[in-house]
Point group: none
Chain length 300, copies 2
DNA sequence: GTCACTCATGAAAGATATTTTCGTTTCGGT
DNA sequence: ACCGAAACGAAAATATCTTTCATGAGTGAC
């Protein structure tokens, strides 16, 4: 075996090459070349024998055609064809810009959702004020205790942040009940931190505890999609999340959640960096504990 | 669980799949998988024998690895590799991510986190089995009631899904307590749906209620990063989430959550499509209700 | 420690796919 | 009608891929 390295198969050039070489081809070869140019993806799935049958010719002719097109043999033509097919496929992506429709096939739904969330992440990262973020991180790292307020979908984000902070040894709460939240907020004082998470910035149940914390002298942070909304009134630092367009089938909650989670992750990693000496072993310990638990229960 | 491998050869998902399946691979297979993920273009140019030599293993091992990655044999893996190589060549980012370091400035943290999560989303979307997803959606749309099980970070995802399903008028629960979960599971019967969300696939507290639901005849769905893990044993449909590599400052929970949320969103939108007549007014109604609430309390 | 057992592994046999060879067919010119 | 050249495909030869099977390394029980 020699394993010849053919000239780079020049992706899009195939159709052109077929046209150029067509005159110098015999009838059978033209049939093969046509099939290949017409449906690269389909042909890539066929063996020599398969392609020979499809075009009503023989294996030998297929190989001859491959040679004429500049490849050492059919095997290499096939590889090039697969590459071409993949490129074509990926080029056919921009159907994504449209909204999700009721009759979209499930594969499109996946693609569109993924794309939208990626977009949301990019927007959020671009729009995040790193100065405010840094200030919030500093406050968190030094806090005696931290409260995180959120309701509904944002409540889950609040809990997510709380879980993470607990993992690195900080004291954090995410009261689920609005009354409990206010009760908690009353306990805060200077040096503590309160974080309110609300997309609209107008959720009374979340604004209220933040206001209390603010008045008690705690450092307050608002994570909201509306930097001009009521909640910012009581926030020392405002972190803006991004809102991509919503639609009937894609409620705003979906993208705001993605955005909020990115912000929350940034807060977490920032704090973990600042408190590395304490955070690293704490993280390792909680990881260990869970691993054992899984080992013990998972595989009987 | 049946469906040992039914994964469609989804081109972009390869690196992710390697990462996902790596734990269940033997040493030699890992060497092969690594080579393939590391240099798709180079490997596409090699025959089985060549790749076996390169990785210091045997042809048999190479074929075995190809199988594990979801292809019928090496030939098909090679074809997919060629496709991948072509895509990379045509201007797709090589995906070089440096880990987050302790002394990274906060702006870098934001950028890296956003990029990683975007990557995770892309991987998940590419690796999601739309057939399984469709089946799960169908079951959900027709379910009398739905239970969603999850613990820790995955518990929040479970709640997120539950909240969404409730919004479109379905009956869904996400019991937080493991005992409560089992108690709930006992109530399920044929036609109902149980969904287990667990990254490791080995969380006993989540497997147990799913097993109960499974035995009661409910349709069971597992959302997990490990398609070969114990939880899939009791799952009619397995939805695989993607795992990007974790690091000290970036626990696995972070990217698995992103991935899980995408899957959950897909489920939700899929169900909303199928039950559009019912879902659309329900969504509108809940939107209305919240808007009034914000208006009333937000602006005093 | 030893034994029995499982499982990963590669050598080689077996099956396919590709390439080459070679004889037949076709076609244009005389 | 006959000749020669080129096209073509059947089948042999080769390369490549897949499967089988024996071996040995690792693991847990005793």
């Amino acid at each position: 075996m020699k394993e010849t390295f053919a000239s780079p198969p020049a992706p899009g050039a195939l159709a052109a090459k077929v046209r150029t070489l067509s005159p110098s081809m015999t009838r059978s070869m033209q049939r093969v070349a046509e099939a290949v140019a017409g449906d690269p993806a389909g042909c890539a799935a066929l063996t020599v024998t398969g392609l020979a049958e499809l075009t009503g010719t023989s294996e030998a002719t297929v190989v001859r055609t491959a040679r004429l097109l500049g490849y050492p043999g059919y095997r290499d033509l096939r590889l090039a064809l697969a590459g071409l097919a993949a490129q074509q496929q990926s080029g056919r992506a921009p159907a994504i810009t449209t909204d999700i429709a009721v009759d979209d096939p499930i594969a499109d739904v996946v693609a569109k959702l993924a794309y939208d969330e990626q977009q949301t992440l990019a927007d959020t990262a671009a729009g995040l004020d790193t100065v405010q973020l840094g200030a919030a991180v500093t406050a968190l790292a030094a806090a005696r205790r931290t409260d995180v307020y959120g309701i509904g979908a944002s409540g889950l984000v609040a809990q997510d942040l709380t879980q993470k902070l607990l993992r690195i040894g900080l004291i954090a709460h995410a009261p689920g009940d609005p009354h409990l939240a206010v009760t908690n907020a009353v306990q805060l004082r200077a040096g503590d931190v309160a974080i309110a998470i609300t997309h609209s910035g107008s959720t009374g149940d979340v604004i209220e505890p933040l206001r209390v914390a603010f008045e008690r002298g705690a450092t307050t942070v608002a994570v909201t999609g509306r930097p001009d909304s009521p909640v910012t009134q009581y926030a020392d630092h405002v972190l803006t999340t991004s809102t991509s367009r919503e639609s009937e089938l894609r409620p705003a909650a979906m993208s705001s959640r993605t955005s909020q989670l990115l912000v929350v992750d940034c807060l977490f990693v920032g704090v973990a960096q600042r408190t590395y000496e304490q955070a690293a072993p704490a993280l390792a310990a909680s990881y260990e504990a869970l691993a054992h638990r899984h080992g013990a229960r998972g595989r009987p």
